[in-house]
Amino acid sequence: MNKRNFCIIAHIDHGKSTLADRMLEITGTIPKRLMRDQVLDAMELEREHGITIKAHPTRMKYKGFIFNLIDTPGHVDFSYEVTRSLVACEGAVLIVDAVQGVQAQTVSNLYMALDVGLTIIPVINKIDLPNAHIEDIKEEIIDLLNVEEKEILLVSAKNGWGIENLMERIVEKIPPPHDSGSTLKALIFDSYYDEYRGAIPYLRIMSGSIETGINVRFIKSGKNFEVQEVGYFSPKKVKSEILQTGDVGYIICNIRGAKDIKTGDTVIESQKSKVESQSVKPLPGYREVTPYVYAGIYPADGEKYNSLKDALEKLVLTDSSLIYEPETSVALGFGFRCGFLGMLHKKIIEERLEREMNISIISTSPNIRYKVKLQNGDTEWVENPGQMPKPIEINVIEEPVVKAKIFTPPGYIGSILKLCEKRRGIQKSIFYHRENMVEIEYEIPLSELIFDFYDTLKSISQGFASLDYEFLEYRPGDFVKVDILVNSKQVDALSSIVIRDNAYFDAVRLVRRLKQVIPRQLFEVIIQAASNGRIIAKSRVAPIRKDVTAKCYGGDITRKRKLLERQKEGKKKMKRIGMVEIPKEAFLCVRE
């Protein structure tokens, strides 16, 4: 077959976009003349949106071959999405900067690519730079991949040197897609949302073919659709008659919500009888994407509840992994409990709400979802600590536990094990995966892993360790709820669920932290932490004793008013609870 599907693995700024541009150019996909604008456009978007924007998969023609270049995101929150994109490829071009050498992020992604069995083509880029140390970097790559020196290509994406060679190598080394029969099976590896045409999935055809007019079924979501259009990107959207085995492209079938498209789902033909339909096995590796992290999101201005609702509705169209449900808080009013894939995902959603949708929000500290078995035999799911049932009603509280896989160079094993033990992990296995890569497996409570584990892991391994995790089961734990009272008034948005043994310590830490972030007020503010109706920690914010402008004549009046204006802006970042002004960031203190 004359098809080659691949992705590019590179550390940021090592030249992924530049190389992609050269490929587009050399294949005539974009005439050189138009290149400049194209590049600038893409860069601007990426800079602005960081990792949230992914490029379309792009089709190119090269000497009778069809190349599909597929983009991948790069963060643990999205590691499942990354693996699905990788599964859509047979190979990966690994770019290493000739000056900077192999970087940790690259290694993590490389492990994932090797894990799904991709053929790797190592490339050293920027060899035009005077301070390139090609020989050293060759050695790094040889160590990493166990390849021979002659397999490493030298290119300058900027000057176009070596690109031709690379194209030849892709043809030669990356295997063509495997032809596995005529029954349609296509992998949904990504999607995007078009305002007019609905949610549009990107497909990799694993077997069979798909064309306009046929009826398809998405196995996992269970939905049936009539295909209205098929096509690919090159780099603009191009309609075509058919997508065949090995092809990468899109289908349009008037899908209303992103929820119907599940990344990793399998598309099959649905015309056949139900029995026949059911006999088609889904592609392996599918995972139900479930939120791991929950947090309350409230409009900073109570009047903006409806705008926030509209904004979330819009976001969900483009991001199916976000979930939300209305909730009310005594302290914060009407808002939503939202579920996210992880902390980065949470941050992205919050930023999109504030920046793209222009809504000032207050978000609460994140938490996981607890399974609460009650005395009366019922089970309740608790995503908001404020809504934990009363202790006497509870039989047992269970927390999610995940299976965490950590890949690391051997040098960091010691500190990583220490970290996992500290986080209530149970070690399952350690083994040398490849030459200089160790795989460590742990069972760890999700609450210990989801908030800052990844960042800690990255820092203790100088960025080299990578993490992937998967839900395992709910396990009982000994938890208590800690409530916060501000001037005797309980602030529900500050409640948290903690391990009983740590309750005292956590409570003290929290009231101290709140003391730091709550500014002095007209009156004394008493912050108390209570558990089971008992006060277990307390702090106090002394009242303002002096705040007065001594003189206020002619010019002072203008100065004073300007000052008031600034102070008024500062107050906007506050929420008034009872009489007490509490800054937005206080609601994030619980988890810090």
């Binding site: 201005d301 009047e303 007020q521 007209l522 009242p543 303002i544 004793r545 002096k546 705040d547 007065v548 402008t549 001594a550 003189k551 206020c552 004549y553 002619g554 010019g555 009046i557 203008t558 004073k560 008013r561 008031l564 204006e565 102070q567 008024k568 107050k571 906007k572 008034r576 009489m579 002004e581």
Partner: protein, 363 residues
């Protein structure tokens, strides 16, 4: 009751805490200043109106000017404006006047003096970088009485880091023994670009004590507090300053002087730009700003804000919001008026900003 203010930007020596716009006295500069003042007066009288009920010559240190120089200034204002002021004040610093000068002040119609005494404690005066001692200040005061002034105000400063309760009490004691009609007492502030900036201030709770002690003490001696920093015996409140706090109209002449015509505020440039003929900056006061100023200035006064007047000016909705913000122990209502409680005056700004914020935000 429009007021006319004239800023004299000259002093003998800069005090260490002073962030006002003033330069060392220099007769050449004064000449140029007077030329510009004349031009300004001629221009402003056309647009601003000419009649003023009070005149206030402030600074700086107006009393560093020679009689002839001050005469030129008085001629300018008399020539350009209709003045028959009931209150005509000049600021005076000890060490810059003698009986002759003071007698002359009286002869030209000045009927009120504001003396910058600040403290009677010499160490404190030195700390502040003042050019006089406590004794000299007292002598100066006696001279003003000697030549016949019947309306004298004294400026004081508290919260000086080296000050303690005793020294403050003895300053208050010494001052009240002179029976000035009026006292203004300011808390020491540490302004950027002054030598005191960055000094460790007095502990807040001590300063708070000094402040409330002063209120009690002066009340006892027959002074009525009528504004956060201001006290007077019956019949001697400053009309000129009260006009500022009532949101009244005033024209300020001279470098860095400010004016208000009811709808716009004007800010003059500093001396060198002023001499070059640079004009003021003009800024329109919108409804929100007017509301904020009204509250900010109104609540500085002991008499507070008239609720009736407030609702007439800003409407019922805003009035209702204001009512919601009136909370013990910070604010109190007495018949038609709302004011900051006596014991919370030292956090007036925090109270004011809280009200202003909630007036503009909460429904």
């Amino acid at each position: 009751m429009p007021g006319l203010y004239i800023h004299i930007p000259f002093c003998i020596k800069k005090c260490k805490y002073c962030a006002f716009h003033s330069l060392p006295y220099n007769s050449e500069l004064v000449k140029q200043y007077i030329v510009s003042l004349k031009k300004e007066a001629e221009l402003r009288k056309e647009t601003f109106g000419k009649t003023f009920d009070t005149v206030y010559i402030g600074g700086g240190t107006p009393s560093v000017l020679k009689i002839s120089e001050l005469l030129d200034i008085l001629k300018i204002i008399n020539y350009n404006f209709n003045l028959s002021p009931r209150e005509f004040t000049i600021e005076v610093n000890p060490g810059t006047v003698n009986r002759e000068k003071l007698t002359w002040y009286r002869s030209v119609g000045i009927n009120r003096l504001s003396i910058g005494v600040q403290s009677l404690n010499d160490k404190e005066l030195e700390y502040l970088g003042r050019i006089h001692t406590g004794k000299e200040a007292v002598e100066c005061f006696k001279d003003t009485r000697f030549v016949g002034f019947k309306n004298i105000s004294i400026d004081l400063i508290y919260g000086i880091p080296i000050q303690d309760k005793n020294s403050w009490y003895s300053t208050l004691n010494g001052i009240t023994a002179l029976y000035p009609e009026h006292i203004s007492a300011y808390s020491l502030s540490y302004e950027p670009d002054t030598p005191l900036y960055g000094e460790k201030p007095m502990k807040e709770d001590l300063e708070e004590k000094l402040y409330y002690y002063m209120i009690e003490y002066l009340k006892d001696k027959g002074y009525e507090q009528y504004e956060i920093s201001t006290f007077a015996i019956s019949g001697y409140k400053s009309r000129h300053n009260t006009n500022y706090w009532n949101g009244g109209i005033y024209l300020g002449l001279g470098p860095s002087a400010h004016s208000f015509d009811g709808t716009h505020r004007y800010a003059n440039p500093e001396l060198f730009d002023y001499i070059k003929g640079k004009s003021f900056k003009k800024e329109k006061i919108n409804r929100t700003e007017a509301l904020e100023e009204y509250i900010m200035l109104g609540l500085r006064k002991r008499e507070g804000i008239s609720l009736l007047e407030f609702s007439n000016r800003f409407g019922n909705e805003t009035y209702n919001k204001l009512i919601k913000e009136i909370k013990e122990p910070f604010l109190e209502v007495d018949r038609d008026r709302v004011r900051i409680t006596e014991k919370k005056q030292f956090i007036a700004d925090a109270i004011i900003i809280s009200i202003i914020y909630h007036l503009s935000n909460e429904k």
